[in-house]
Symmetry: C2
Subunit: 212 residues, 2 copies
Amino acid sequence: MATALGEGSLSRVERKERTRRAILDTALDLSADTSLVAVSLRQVAKEVGIVPTAFYRHFASIEALGLELVDESFVSLRAVLRDVRRPDPSLKQLIDGSVDVLAEHVEARRAHFGFIARERVAGPPAVREAVRHQIELVERELATDIARIPGTEAWASDDLRVLSRLMVTSMVATAEALILAARPEMTQDIKDQARTQLRMVLVGALNWKSQG
Amino acid sequence: MATALGEGSLSRVERKERTRRAILDTALDLSADTSLVAVSLRQVAKEVGIVPTAFYRHFASIEALGLELVDESFVSLRAVLRDVRRPDPSLKQLIDGSVDVLAEHVEARRAHFGFIARERVAGPPAVREAVRHQIELVERELATDIARIPGTEAWASDDLRVLSRLMVTSMVATAEALILAARPEMTQDIKDQARTQLRMVLVGALNWKSQG
DNA sequence: AGACTGAGAGTACAGACGTTCACTGAATCG
DNA sequence: CGATTCAGTGAACGTCTGTACTCTCAGTCT
């Protein structure tokens, strides 16, 4: 069974997984310049250091690879929701915290957030579809999170959906701005603006019921 | 000078302009499937019905063509602001009106709004840059519009920018949703949601000063 | 130890790509 | 009317694309 492996050498499955990861990472990297639709199988193969045909041992097509990247990227996005909901749900400090959490995750998984923003509107059809579906799920997830916050129990579910949609939209927009930010000082500006934006939205939402 | 032209025939400049338009329209149409980066010069030429090399008589590259499309598209976007600001600036009916105006313009210039949404994040570098710059200008334009509304005179200019940015972001998101909407009944839903969203944001903004 | 499996190599092909160049012929100009 | 201009033609180029095949040979299983 397990032949003792030399320290530098890897088992067959490990080697395969290693190449697979390299392909995924390379494709993610190359797509950052424009979109996954502009990435060719041969480009990826060359960058990874394998022959073009070897690509097929791992993925049936660039599009299939893209669907995998969608899953990975949304793990990163959901992690934001998870970390936001971790601390006590006091609304005051939740705002500042949320923006920081988002910024940290964007910093750590820059490529994933960029991928979502791009491929949502300009990816291969199947990938675009997958991203949109995932975003809808995230919107729902956020809606149930909000519903758990004291003071929002009586909200209409439609209003809840509108609010969570608005928050996800501006969350993606903020992530996009953070990715684009060249210098660290800009990052601080964007975070401040995002905080103000989020406060405005929540002030609106809290005064919402009285509107009718 | 002007030789009498047969009814069906056109002058030389008219012919050239006609081809030029066909190229622009075709490129806009083809890019709708993914992004302008995935559109080739030869594809466009074939669709228009000219030989590939004739393309160069009109544009130096697909990228240059794209910059032209950016200008055209933002004429369509600015038209929304113009039509929104036309009626009296009473805040109540401004909300309902704005969403309708946006929906009408998106319906009429579907391709332009889609182009902006896509190429902003996934176009050729120069095109992306141009779109972003134009969006920033539109944000500023909207900010000065808002500043003219009674009751917002005392706002900090930073807050004004944050609000207008938020509004443009959700405006683009709404346009995107409207374009994607397959059936007309969905359009009504999206418009309702956009109205609620806009109201929420404005309720927030109006109660903003008291926050400090 | 011998058989088997499968990731990757290598070769090959047909088609699409951007770009070059010399050309044609109808509209325009003097 | 003769000279000029220029949008569109057509052939040719070198490069890149996805995909089909056969082959190799190290890691694995029995």
